[in-house]
């Protein structure tokens, strides 16, 4: 039983046409026991950058707090928000600082860059960045997610269609994984608005 599978998680992000969507499951478990069904895995760094963290729940929370801290200081010093690429480099550096005693989580970073182009990337627990144009996945359900996204993804989808696609991909994948599920939490972000939606799937 790997430590990454202790709490169970599923996170996926997809890029669309001048928008992106990021979604996660809501289960928090301790191995086979479900402890909570409303665990927050995706967090907003600022209006145009979101980060979803899968893996050990305590590291998810701590790493999120550290990143928010760094971003707030950056905002105060530089009087501007961090670009998603810059934020991804920062996360990668922070994870590699703990190379020999790492944070046991895999982040998924999604944001809107210059000219509203979507930016998505994932990394492993020691900061190896993986950029993608279409979708990125992480968590215990990652293998199912890869399959579902590959099948359902189309390039240049608009916000509503992107929402449908990411929701279907998430729900069908977590149904195949006993450690993740209990609904879904989806954020669809366009240059003008952030839409947050809760999905009701198989509640198990």
């Amino acid at each position: 039983m790997s430590i990454f599978e202790y709490n169970g998680s599923a996170v996926v992000a997809m890029g669309g046409k001048n928008c992106f969507a990021i979604a996660s499951d809501r289960r928090l478990g301790v191995q086979l026991q479900t402890i909570a069904t409303d665990f927050q895995r995706i967090s907003k760094i600022h209006d145009r950058v979101f980060i979803g963290l899968s893996g050990l729940a305590t590291d998810v929370q701590t790493l999120y707090q550290r990143l928010v801290f760094r971003h707030k200081l950056y905002q105060l010093r530089e009087e501007r928000d961090m670009k998603p690429e810059t934020f991804a480099s920062l996360v990668s550096a922070i994870l590699y600082e703990k190379r020999f005693g790492p944070y046991l989580c895999q982040p998924v970073i999604a944001g809107l860059g210059e000219d509203d182009k979507p930016f998505i990337c994932t990394m492993d627990s020691i900061g190896a960045k993986e950029l993608a144009k279409d979708f990125v996945v992480s968590g215990t359900a990652s293998e199912s997610l890869y399959g579902a996204c590959e099948a359902m993804y189309k390039p240049d989808m608009e916000a509503e269609e992107l929402f449908e696609t990411i929701s279907q991909a998430l729900l069908s994948s977590v149904d195949r994984d006993c450690l993740s599920g209990w609904g879904g939490h989806v954020y669809v972000v366009t240059p003008t608005e952030i839409k947050e939606r809760i999905l009701k799937g198989r509640m198990d």
Partner: protein
């Protein structure tokens, strides 16, 4: 400014006595002696004595002696201005006098100036070499901090070298962390922080340079001046070093908001010419510029000659 002397003398001695009573007697007599000395010198209000005596007890059955130890330190300060030497002490008028002295060092350095145009920044300096035997190609007063930020100084060359080294490292650290080139304001702030640290630490002195930092980033062309105290200002046009008041007056008259980079270079040359002793040529000035291409370049002597010809 009155000069100041501080002398610190220290004497230590150990003594051993057979018994505790003897030791106490020795201590008492020593103390009496020192008190007399102190009161004698105190009359001139110039000297402070500090002394202390310490006893240690026999450490084992084999050592019947008692060890005593005394240390006398003598501090004498002549003159009223006890503030000008110590960097980290304020003077009664609220100034840090060492920083004033550092600014004087800057003010006696060679003139340098910078002008921010609408589409770039130019910085220039005199390059007066101590002798004609010096190989002027080896002297580079204008330096890069990053590919899009350059810097020039007035004051002490060696201090400048140290600051350039530190700033380059900070810029590169930022780049390594964020994979993004450092904004000019951030680099200036970090350099200024380094300079301020040297005004508030023990055993160091302030840097004897003022810097003019020229850069072009997402916010457009920028020109900053950083002083030995660590304060920094953004300027449209500025000058430092010898002849600074004439140069600034000239710049105030000649500066316009919508100047282009080439006009700015001409104005910079004319300003340098104002206070120049001797013949101005491409061998005794240095000019650096950065335009909308965001690449900082030091002009070659041939290019400087072209601009000089245009100015004549």
């Amino acid at each position: 400014m009155e000069s100041d002397h501080v002398m610190m003398m220290r004497t230590t001695a150990t003594f051993r006595t057979r018994s505790c009573d003897d030791c106490v007697r020795v201590r008492a007599s020593l103390r009496r002696e020192l008190l007399c000395a102190n009161s004698f010198y105190k009359k001139s209000k110039a000297v402070n004595f500090h002394y202390f005596l310490r006893l240690s007890l026999p450490s084992s059955l084999f050592d019947p002696y008692i060890e005593g130890f005394f240390e006398v330190s003598l501090r004498c300060a002549m003159g009223d201005s006890q503030y000008s030497f110590s960097l980290t002490t304020f003077s009664p008028s609220g100034k840090l006098v060492q920083i004033e002295h550092a600014l004087t060092a800057v003010g006696s350095g060679q003139t340098s100036l910078g002008i921010k145009a609408s589409n770039g920044v130019v910085i220039a300096t005199e390059k007066k070499l101590p002798s004609i035997l010096v190989d002027e190609a080896s002297v580079q007063k204008i330096q890069h901090l990053t590919p899009n930020i350059g810097v020039v100084y007035s004051g002490m060359g060696p201090d400048f070298r140290v600051l350039v080294r530190k700033s380059r490292k900070q810029a590169e650290q930022y780049n390594r962390l964020y994979k993004e080139p450092i904004p000019v304001t951030q680099l200036v702030r970090e350099t200024a922080t380094v300079m301020q640290e040297f005004t508030q630490s023990g055993g160091v002195r302030p840097f004897g340079v003022s810097l003019l930092v020229a850069g072009y980033d997402d916010k457009g062309p920028q020109l900053y001046q950083v002083d030995p105290s660590g304060s920094y200002f953004s300027w449209k046009a500025s000058a430092m070093g010898k002849n600074v008041s004439n140069a600034k007056t000239f710049l105030e008259k000649r500066y316009t908001e919508d100047m282009e980079l080439d006009d700015a270079i001409h104005t910079a040359i004319l300003t340098l010419k104002e206070g120049f002793e001797g013949e101005i040529s491409s061998k005794n000035i240095e000019i650096g510029k950065i335009g909308a291409d965001k690449v900082f370049r030091v002009l070659t002597p041939a290019e400087i000659d072209d601009y000089l010809a245009e100015v004549e």
